[in-house]
């Protein structure tokens, strides 16, 4: 593979999109420059445009105005298979009736590299094994995906995304159906991938996970980027109150790098 797959930056340039012609815009003139190498956490209340933004980065939706630019190439110019070697996506929900085994689904992550009719090569097999291990899927690797629990299924899809081995990985609520241990395992695995030079962008609802693992936070509100920067600058009392309409307390505790962010209010803390 001689193709240059690395993308030094992805930019959203005055990006706007409405799901319905006469509806509320999901993205309003979003301008955002994402340099490679970071671990981005995309946060914001429901309907803030997080998923819409992610879908634009994957060319799953035509914007009404503006564009997404990979380095200096408009995403419109990039073919699907070439795009799939640069950026991968874990959607929020997936089909539950897939009868393929976990291994087979993870192997599908190698599709962007395969020539038609070619069998999986050594690199493919190695990447599949690594991805299965990284996402903790070894215990059920040969079971049909439809027979797995929700959390296990989510880990299979994460493994598939990792097997795709793209320099950019976008994940839409990757921890939503995982228990605490698997949440931490996943965040650590993503951090490790980030350390290996991959750029991660994860849509998250858990501010504390975001604050501890992400290097940059994109805080969205009503289709726009409200704040962007390192966690300690973006996740402030004022910003969170403005965006979520909820008071938060920042609890310092011994030995922690970041304060612990918890919602508070008369109904919770009297």
């Amino acid at each position: 593979m001689t193709e240059e797959r690395n993308v030094q930056k992805i930019a959203a340039d005055h990006l706007s999109w409405k799901p319905a012609k006469d509806g509320r815009p999901a993205l309003k003139d979003v301008c955002l420059m994402l340099p490679a190498g970071e671990f981005y956490g995309i946060l914001g209340p429901n309907g803030a445009g997080k998923t819409s933004l992610a879908r634009q980065l994957l060319k799953l939706q035509k914007p009404d105005a503006g564009s997404v630019v990979f380095d200096s190439t408009d995403i419109k110019q990039i073919k699907r298979d070439a795009l799939a070697r640069r950026i991968s996506f874990l959607p929020q929900a997936f089909r539950t009736d897939v009868e393929f085994s976990a291994y087979e689904v993870v192997a599908m992550g190698r599709e962007p590299y395969r020539r038609r009719f070619a069998a999986l090569n050594e690199t493919d097999l190695r990447k599949i094994e690594e991805a299965l291990a990284a996402a903790n899927c070894m215990a059920f690797r040969d079971k049909p995906v439809c027979c797995l629990s929700g959390g296990e299924r989510q880990r299979v899809m994460i493994a598939r995304t990792i097997a795709q081995d793209t320099p950019w990985i976008v994940l839409d609520e990757p921890v939503s159906s995982l228990d605490v241990k698997h949440q931490l395992d996943l965040m650590r695995a993503l951090q490790r991938l980030n350390g290996q030079g991959k750029t991660i962008a994860a849509i998250l609802h858990d501010m504390n996970l975001a604050a501890s693992y992400c290097t940059k936070i994109v805080l969205m509100e009503q289709g726009s980027v409200f704040a962007y920067g390192p966690p300690q600058d973006v996740l402030t009392k004022e910003n969170l109150l403005r965006v979520y309409g909820v008071e938060f307390a920042f609890l310092e505790y011994k030995g922690s790098r970041m304060p612990y962010i918890v919602p508070c209010g008369p109904d919770i803390h009297g």
Binding site: K59, R80, F100, E111, F117
Partner: protein, 346 residues
């Protein structure tokens, strides 16, 4: 997925199909031994066939096997294969396990075309197809075109729109056939029998006509089978894995429609094969389309040859419509497979 396709299984299934076909050409009002039929067929192979000497009454038997039964067996095999393969493809592309080859209204279009040919008494013939076949073929293609135009609202096609448009247009055409029937009582039986499917007018030309479509269609489907697998994860996942889903759908639907149109125009409407055979194959060999497509081709062929042989021999000299036999034998078998699968799960 490590072993996407096994040549041994494929050859075993091909051998099974060959045995079924050989048995089928031996059975009928003139009983031949399987060995004799085999000899007659061997003798027809260019260059290697000459040393084989025909048994007693060779010339008569040769005529029966080669000119009467073989085209019919071949045509039913090709039709069965075509319907099963298209069923497998449609079930994948529409992510709908109830999809069958007739779901886009192709068959209603063919039936209307055939009815029109019978009522007008048109007589044209081209490549072994008479007026009925040609009108049916044209009707089927026009219908798919109409369905496609209705379902395509500008950008991209939606599977649900296609299915709904197919059902709506199919219903419209069926009512037109009924209307035509009301005014032409004398043709009711003929039209009705045509819609139930039959291979009694098979010929080598018809088999060659359909064979071209089956070869081409299966090649297209098989080359896209890996991408069809990925579509099973969902359309957006497939896009993120680099599959041009819109193009895959367009190509597969176009090729499928033409293939079904060709099959229906030489055989009439035969239900059940396209719906059930792919499911049976999946229950036995799993969901991987790189297996499901070639195995459905062979299994569909063997199944329909067996059904057609039963149709022409069970109540001889009366022929039972082959569509009746496919359901009569296929449905209980399918129910048994479903129950067995259910038993395994729980």
């Amino acid at each position: 997925m490590k072993k996407p396709f096994s040549w041994i299984r494929f050859l075993a299934l091909s051998a099974l199909l060959f045995i079924v076909m050989l048995t089928a050409v031996s059975v009928g009002s003139a009983e031949l031994s399987v060995a004799d039929s085999f000899l007659i067929l061997l003798q027809k192979i260019p260059f290697v066939g000459e040393p084989f000497v025909l048994p007693e009454h060779g010339a008569v038997y040769e005529k029966i096997v080669w000119e009467v039964r073989m085209p019919r067996v071949l045509l039913s095999a090709l039709t069965g294969g075509a319907l099963a393969v298209v069923g497998a493809v449609y079930q994948g592309i529409f992510l709908n396990s109830l999809a069958d080859p007739h779901i886009l209204g192709v068959s209603s279009g063919a039936a209307l075309g055939a009815t029109a040919a019978m009522l007008t008494g048109a007589s044209v013939s081209f490549f072994g197809l008479g007026a009925i076949g040609l009108f049916a073929f044209a009707g089927a293609l026009l219908t798919v075109f109409a369905v496609y135009c209705v379902a395509k609202p500008g950008r991209g096609i939606s599977a649900v729109h296609l299915l709904l448009a197919g059902t709506a247009i199919s219903t419209l055409l069926s009512s037109m056939i009924s209307l035509l029937m009301t005014f032409h009582h004398e043709q009711i039986v003929r039209v009705y029998l045509w819609t139930m499917g039959s291979f009694s007018s098979a010929s080598w030309e018809k088999a060659a006509f359909l064979g071209v479509f089956v070869l081409f269609g299966t090649a297209v489907f098989w080359s896209g089978a890996g991408r069809l697998n990925i579509m099973l994860l969902g359309e957006e996942e497939a896009k993120c894995l680099g599959v041009d889903t819109g193009r895959l759908q367009r190509v597969f639907i176009l090729v499928s429609s033409v293939l079904v149109a060709a099959a229906v125009s030489v055989s009439g409407i035969i239900g059940f094969v396209g719906l059930i055979v792919p499911h049976c194959v999946r229950i036995i060999c799993g969901p991987d389309n790189r297996k499901v497509i070639p195995y459905s081709l062979l299994a569909g062929a063997a199944f329909l040859v067996a059904c057609d042989t039963a149709a022409r021999t069970m109540a001889s000299p009366t022929e039972i419509p082959v569509g009746v036999v496919t359901s009569l034998f296929g449905a209980p078998y399918f129910i048994a497979l479903l129950l067995k699968k259910r038993g395994k799960r729980s």
